[in-house]
């Protein structure tokens, strides 16, 4: 049996019911809210539409008969429903959201405003090109910024999220191997143990096998162990830099040179590019492909889990294999090359590996990201990287008074702690994190990366003030002291008590999955 144990309990310890229940279940500003299926009904609507004429239909006899099961709400009901739901969420606009590796930073509203200009929001991907020249120019401009910031010659704009960008990069590597006639021999991809789960999943999705590279004592790729694994069957390496421990791979050039010498390619996971924008360019470090999470580095909103956007920069070696469509500039202005045949006509040597999505990528995210970049400028982007790294180091230093950093020395944009400071306290790592919720904070990333026991990964980002950071550190230090002082194990285990819900039973959810609303059976008469 192969174990991948994250070692946290997944069902709540038995805590008695809250004595301070109100009649409604509401708690002042925090209002309980039922499902739309329980408050709406099929006949109600919050949209006034014209009356259909009743002309005969031409649906080929495939008309729907019977009920669908969709409740409707009048507009005030809908507004109230979703506003109440919104108030059960923590958000970056409410306070620090220190999820390591996720980069929760301020989302400027200028970007939202720009994305909603009808000239961007209300244009169709298949309109004649002459009616969307501004949109194509915007994509081209963003591409120029991304290439310049990374020092890379090409970028594929269509990937729809970070993991999709990874797939793009690895597909380009596979296509390059096909072109070299080595796709059957080069099957192995080296991935550090500390990698995001998407890396091995992506490699396998591309038909590669994954070989783990161990980490050194100081949290970086073990160069010697890595070199020992290189061989003629290696397709490439996937390395996150700065890595998931929040550290810059100081031997990055040696890693790149070694993999190139062995005939493989260097995929860099760009999830943490936000630490080094304008401080270092992946193109100067030997990278062949790297995705850029516009929703992390360039502050397009995370929106409760999406949408993302993952443009992928490519080296000279991989550029010819970039997927269609892509924007080119020619005698008739900006133009989209949409097929393989056309791509090779407009760009010499182009051999696109295929297509990743129906249209041209996440235009709405492109507008937001470019708005963010232009607002910052090259000087502001460099300052942002520096402030992000300074904030993380400040938090690392201050928290070290009670907590235990996983590795010595400065960190980059995120500070990694292990849970050894809780040894012997009886307080579980998860309980420590849940107690942060009662203090008004979203917990940090927990139990990731897997290479550190009870990992706690804190990424403050550049948009936190010193005052917010000080209060955050004071709160965590206080929790750590309370845990160490003893006698508070139960309090930690019961946390959170002030959130809209107490701990949820994930075990029950997984054993008998209820994944959609089902109307309850009519109540039986009591016997």
């Amino acid at each position: 049996m192969a174990m991948n144990d994250q070692g946290r309990p997944t069902r709540p310890t038995n805590i008695g019911a809250n004595e301070k229940r109100t009649f409604t279940g509401n708690r002042a500003l925090e209002i309980e809210e039922a499902l739309i299926f329980e408050i709406g009904d099929a006949g109600r609507s919050g949209v006034d539409l014209d009356e259909p004429t009743g002309a005969p239909s031409r649906l080929g006899g495939l008309e729907r008969e019977g009920e669908i099961g969709l409740p409707g709400l009048a507009e005030p009901e809908a507004m109230r429903h979703y506003v109440r739901l919104s108030q059960k969420n923590y958000a970056i606009d409410m306070g620090p959201f220190p999820l390591g590796s996720c980069t929760m930073k301020h989302n400027p509203r200028l970007n939202e405003k720009m994305a909603r200009l009808p000239g961007f929001a209300d244009i169709h991907p298949l309109q004649p090109e002459k009616t969307v020249q501004g949109a194509l120019e915007l994509i081209d401009t963003l591409a120029h910024w991304l290439k310049t910031l990374t020092g890379m010659p090409a970028v594929a704009m269509s990937p729809k999220a970070g993991a999709h960008g990874e797939l793009c990069g690895m597909m380009a590597i596979k296509a390059a191997l096909v072109a070299r006639g080595e796709v059957e021999t080069r099957k192995r991809v080296l991935v550090p143990e500390s990698a995001h789960g998407t890396n091995p999943a992506t490699a396998v999705q591309c038909g590669f096998t994954v070989d783990d590279i161990p980490a050194t004592e100081d949290g970086r790729v073990d160069l010697e162990a890595f070199k020992a694994k290189l061989g003629p069957d290696v397709a490439g390496i996937m390395v996150t830099n700065p890595n998931t421990c929040g550290l810059f791979e100081r031997e990055i050039r040696e890693i790149a040179d070694a993999v190139h010498e062995a005939g493989g390619y260097f995929y860099c996971d760009g999830a943490n590019f936000n630490a080094i924008v304008c401080k270092a360019r992946p193109g100067d470090l030997g990278v062949d492909a790297m995705h850029i999470n516009l929703h992390k580095t360039f502050s397009t909103p995370h929106g409760g889990g999406g949408p993302g956007s993952g443009p992928t920069v490519l080296s000279e070696a991989l550029a010819p294999f970039a997927p269609v469509p892509f924007v080119v500039f020619g005698p008739h202005g900006h133009h989209l090359a949409e097929s393989r045949a056309e791509a090779s006509e407009v760009v010499e040597g182009a051999q696109p590996f295929g297509r990743m999505t129906a249209f041209h990528g996440q235009m709405g995210m492109f507008v937001r990201a470019l708005s963010h970049m232009m607002s910052h400028g090259s000087d502001g982007l460099r300052q942002a990287s520096e402030d992000a790294v300074l904030n993380a180091n400040y938090v690392q230093k201050r928290l070290s008074a009670e907590m235990t950093p996983a590795f010595p020395g400065f960190c980059m944009h995120e500070a990694l702690f292990d849970d050894s400071f809780l040894d012997g306290t009886g307080v579980a790592t998860i309980d420590f994190a849940k107690a942060m919720i009662d203090e008004g904070y979203h917990p940090m990333t927990m139990y990731f990366p897997l290479v550190v026991h009870g990992a706690m990964l804190i990424e403050p980002t550049e948009t936190e003030s010193k005052r917010e950071l000080d209060l955050f550190c004071d709160a965590l230090l206080s929790l750590a002291r309370e845990a160490k002082a003893g006698g508070a194990v139960e309090k930690f285990a019961a946390a959170p008590v002030f959130a809209p819900r107490r701990r949820l039973d994930e075990t029950a959810a997984a054993r008998k999955p209820v994944l959609r609303y089902v109307e309850p059976a009519p109540a039986q008469a009591a016997e």
């Binding site: 192969a2 174990m3 991948n4 994250q6 309990p9 075990t507 997984a510």
Partner: protein, 122 residues
Amino acid sequence: MTTKFTKEHEWVRMEGDVAVVGITPHAAEQLGDVVFVELPDIGKSFKENDDMAVVESVKAASDVYAPISGEILEINDAIVEDPAKVNEDPAGAAWFVKIRPSNPAEFDALMDEAQYKEFAGS
């Protein structure tokens, strides 16, 4: 009846010429609350160390490897229906599969209880 153990935290008990296979209490504890079990089809043959079954908790997913080569004779539907049984009685009622071994020498080569205890404790 001899019970032997693998490094992958499975146990194998010979009942006559049939091998009964399950996961150890140590493994069940490490997994936490088991929420899902997937067992192979009856009649399927495996070589030693092939992926044979899957066991999942909320936060961990594990493959269960065939501890010895052979053909699946019987599977324990009760743990598929109610995966919680794996936590309740991993060494007994929550067996996974019964195998007809094709190479009895593989069984002899597995760890005995003392060896496994030392291995799992390390």
